[in-house]
Symmetry: C2
Amino acid sequence: MRIVVVGGVAGGMSAAARARRLAEDAEIVVLERGEFVSFANCGLPYHVSDEIPRRDSLLVQTPESLRAALNLDVRTGHEVVAIDRDARTVTAVHTTPAGVQETVLPYDALVLAPGAATVRPPIAGLDLPQVHTMRTVPDADGLRAVLADGARSAVVLGAGFIGLEVAEALRTRGLEVDLVDLAPHVLPPLDDELASLLDAELRAHGVRTHVGVAAEAIHATGPVAAEGESTEPEGADRPAAVEVRLSDGTALSADLVVLSVGVRPDSHLAASIGLELAAGGAIVVDGQQRTSDPHIWAVGDATAVRNAVTGAVGPVPLAGPANRQGRRAADAILGRVTPEREARGVLGTAVVRVFGLTAAMTGASQRALQQAGIAHHVVHVHPGHHAGYFPGAEQLHLTMSFAPDGRLLGAQAVGRAGADKRIDVLATALAAGMTVDDVAELELAYAPPYGSAKDPVNMAGFVAQNVLDGTLALWYPADLEKVLDSALVLDVRSRGEFASGHLPGALNVPHTELRDRLDEVRAAADGRPVRVHCASGFRSYLAHRVLVQAGMDSANLSGGMLTLRAARPDLELVRA
Amino acid sequence: MRIVVVGGVAGGMSAAARARRLAEDAEIVVLERGEFVSFANCGLPYHVSDEIPRRDSLLVQTPESLRAALNLDVRTGHEVVAIDRDARTVTAVHTTPAGVQETVLPYDALVLAPGAATVRPPIAGLDLPQVHTMRTVPDADGLRAVLADGARSAVVLGAGFIGLEVAEALRTRGLEVDLVDLAPHVLPPLDDELASLLDAELRAHGVRTHVGVAAEAIHATGPVAAEGESTEPEGADRPAAVEVRLSDGTALSADLVVLSVGVRPDSHLAASIGLELAAGGAIVVDGQQRTSDPHIWAVGDATAVRNAVTGAVGPVPLAGPANRQGRRAADAILGRVTPEREARGVLGTAVVRVFGLTAAMTGASQRALQQAGIAHHVVHVHPGHHAGYFPGAEQLHLTMSFAPDGRLLGAQAVGRAGADKRIDVLATALAAGMTVDDVAELELAYAPPYGSAKDPVNMAGFVAQNVLDGTLALWYPADLEKVLDSALVLDVRSRGEFASGHLPGALNVPHTELRDRLDEVRAAADGRPVRVHCASGFRSYLAHRVLVQAGMDSANLSGGMLTLRAARPDLELVRA
Ligand SMILES: Cc1cc2nc3c(=O)[nH]c(=O)nc-3n(C[C@H](O)[C@H](O)[C@H](O)COP(=O)(O)OP(=O)(O)OC[C@H]3O[C@@H](n4cnc5c(N)ncnc54)[C@H](O)[C@@H]3O)c2cc1C
Ligand SMILES: Cc1cc2nc3c(=O)[nH]c(=O)nc-3n(C[C@H](O)[C@H](O)[C@H](O)COP(=O)(O)OP(=O)(O)OC[C@H]3O[C@@H](n4cnc5c(N)ncnc54)[C@H](O)[C@@H]3O)c2cc1C
Ligand SMILES: CC(C)(COP(=O)(O)OP(=O)(O)OC[C@H]1O[C@@H](n2cnc3c(N)ncnc32)[C@H](O)[C@@H]1OP(=O)(O)O)[C@@H](O)C(=O)NCCC(=O)NCCS
Ligand SMILES: CC(C)(COP(=O)(O)OP(=O)(O)OC[C@H]1O[C@@H](n2cnc3c(N)ncnc32)[C@H](O)[C@@H]1OP(=O)(O)O)[C@@H](O)C(=O)NCCC(=O)NCCS
């Protein structure tokens, strides 16, 4: 049995390694066009920042170590250029001192793990040598060389996961950094009201963000800083190398540009042999990672997966799924197939560090739910990441979406600590098909340094239960104009909090005084509904319960001023 | 409607608060015999250590704040001494300047939340003034006073969660600390091979542990250090106040003793009125927290819960369950009953910090499974808490137990970082009834600072899958003597690792050389089974796969030398 794997990093090498463990006698050949296999793509930005100083650390395995441990035949510098489905062969080319050589390899099973390619939008000047990408070890080498050569400024195009990591890395290395995204906010998959927290963190660390604008053209304005051959005077005298023109007319000068506006499945080989592709070009596979050709499997960034929440089919370029798909493909090839594994969709759980903040998410974002037309509620809570009475509690911003029947649909969190933990828990709950009742009752590990007796996750569950059974009615930042127009805004924070900034026309009745001042509220409402809020939503929830039980039409601002100000960073408050 | 709550901390006050939110017009009276309500019991040890310097921080709410926010009638200093089920009244006594007063309060619904009491084993001298407990704010005040007065040494009786926290606190304050437990290791609910890691951490921080021994008697040997009235010379000249004699003959001198050998349900009131109790005295309740009297509910440490894994019925004295039970009792009293909430058992998820280590657990321990006669497997993995190539990865020790049908039964983790996260994820998986296949496929948030593409949790799932489908056969530390006796021990670590300490009679074949040296292994085995191991179990798993596919009888040491040495801390290795 000969298994040939195309692409020797996350998905491909996981398949090869697992295949060897299952079949000692199989011949397993891994063809990788690059110089490196099994490298830590995800670590590349941290090598650029020097947080991972040694490049070797990124090379998890080498062809030699894989030969020694797993008897794999790993061939770097081998690009597969053709596949013959009938003959069951692949053709790889390989540059040797004697010229380009071609190898034709027969296979019994073929695993395609070619990954993704950087999207190259139609921006003039993308081919300039100052324009970098961030996919491979040579890419990181190239960026480090330019940094060593004295680059002082960069424009990062694209503020997705990798763009954010690259912007942080370059800023950490002391560069002036402009970060540009066409989307209305950084990290587009994040809900708006959380993304603004990242934006503020980026700005606090000196990264200039430009959102809702496109890069239109890049022009060379200075000499190319080529590796090792700098003869120029160092530093401030040197003119910036390029100018990046944005759709709003801004012109950004920089020594380098990093293009990271997204990736697309690198499925041209699969396309060339007529394998079924999904819209967008990702390779269609079944639950066993098998393509439309029964002898060909595909895994990783090049494949289409079904989103477990929205049902949308497309690529989800993440390392965890790629690794596990590789393992599953090997299982399938070698006859280890468990039927349950077929049904699972992908949640797309992801996390990114942005300076001191963590942003994490699982399942569908609010936007994805809207786009998919899935009825849902969302709640916002802001608990500490551990007990408030224990020093160092950091406030979380946690959102949770759920269906009218209580089923979880998605969750996102931003904070300085503990965000990844809560999203991992909610990702597990989502995978299990849990409801908000289940989430309210989760038993999570509590001691003061780690959480709270009612963990933030439980808290989100409680609030959601209250929404579903009518104990709590919510209003949202998107309702603000309507609320200001036609309701009494009741601010139940303390007088001091109120004075430090409140909504126009709001009535201030601290929640501890509400029971005694109900008549005053009723009079001020004068027949209008009451829209109550506090800082986080907790005190105003207590107020809401008093109001509705006094017969008033009340709703509580989800997540309070914390969420409102994050959703509307430019909101002008009244001070007095 | 009048709701009377007995006990005003975790469970009781949660019930009262929730009841108010649901029923603005109910009369809600909370009777608390102590001076404080709603205090953070769990924070007390950290106040003793001074990590929480301000005592006020522990007072989450006061009678005044609860009156103001929730219109609760909270009466401290009121001890309920009698309940009349027929008349539906409680009698509370209250000391005033004019003497003891008795109040009789009628109720429509009564919530018992009296908590637990410290177990007082038959040790002579427990009533000495130098013997402290750690349950209440006055207890913490008392310990702080003795510390301020110059106490230099302490014996902590009981090395459970609270005993460990107290030992750490006192050591942090500079005391000599002896920690004593009758169980064979510290933190008895932890699996043996993890508990030794805590023991080592305690010793590394200067806490002397004494396990498998009982305290038999405490004798006064010096003056009582009473609060504020120290007239003695400070420091080294003062004789220690007490001597603690242990069952092995050891005599420990100390200035103070903290008794924390466990708690028992404080159910004497419930017993006095004939409510149904479980063995051990915990109050029996249904899924709505209702006792055998339809007008009386009970919550928290005083109640019996069903262990979700073993089915054992008894108290689980943890704050999270107490808080949620309080909320559920209020729901039930006020008619908000959702049927699904009935069925859940309790997992007992818990966590404790021991200096730089975290120990966390959920579901059943290996011992609990054995005692319950539940067939199970266990796997041991030792991955880093985040990607190994990213600086600062800390090794986790993670164990996971599962049934022959794949259902999760329990998990435990010890490490310097990330242990609480993995146990929260596995607690969620357990609550969902997940199998090891589900765990293998969990999509957890991965970026280098947070985890690995194959998270430690996934890794445990993979290994468990391999055990269940026969890809992997394991042997355990408990098998060591038999293995040394009748098998070839094959150590596949590097020569350097082997030289630094190996099992007697082991053959060293580094895993990278195994395929070429199979004949040598076969000859050395000479018909005996091969029992292979490495440091963590990963390389020897690769070796195991080679061996079985070469037709040999092989098994792999679960968790490798890391687990073996943790299970057998006194094991003598051969060096050369
Ligand atoms: C900078 C960066 C940071 C990232 N950070 C994270 C993160 O924090 N978390 C996360 O989950 N994911 C992250 N990812 C994504 C993650 O690395 C990918 O999802 C994962 O590597 C996909 O695995 P794959 O096997 O599909 O593709 P890859 O790992 O990209 O491997 C594909 C390989 O195939 C080779 N190849 C392609 N075509 C051919 C051919 N015709 N012949 C031979 N070889 C070929 C390519 O050279 C490449 O080496 C990051 C990616 C990058 C680039
Ligand atoms: C030092 C310490 C550390 C802890 N750490 C943790 C931890 O890290 N994580 C965790 O999950 N749990 C921890 N716990 C356990 C947790 O605090 C309890 O499980 C929880 O408080 C139980 O809630 P409860 O309402 O049942 O009882 P309690 O919170 O103990 O409240 C019971 C109250 O009832 C009062 N009472 C009793 N009888 C009467 C009566 N007849 N009349 C009037 N009042 C009465 C008592 O005075 C007491 O104040 C810790 C406990 C302690 C003591
Ligand atoms: C490293 C790489 C080659 C995969 O290697 P792998 O051999 O599958 O090894 P891993 O370290 O992932 O270990 C997983 C295996 O070890 C086993 N294992 C781990 N710990 C074990 C233990 N204590 N006992 C027994 N088995 C153990 C697991 O069961 C699993 O084996 P299985 O798949 O046969 O069940 C591949 O993941 C890779 O190339 N990674 C780098 C690229 C990458 O992932 N990039 C994206 C992220 S930066
Ligand atoms: C504090 C204490 C009185 C309980 O108070 P509580 O009023 O239930 O308040 P919590 O802070 O727990 O908040 C939970 C409530 O706020 C709601 N809430 C929280 N954040 C919210 C938000 N952003 N929007 C709307 N509602 C919110 C929850 O839904 C829940 O209400 P519900 O039970 O009606 O659904 C009680 O837990 C206590 O005494 N604690 C200290 C003692 C203790 O727990 N000791 C052991 C641990 S150290």
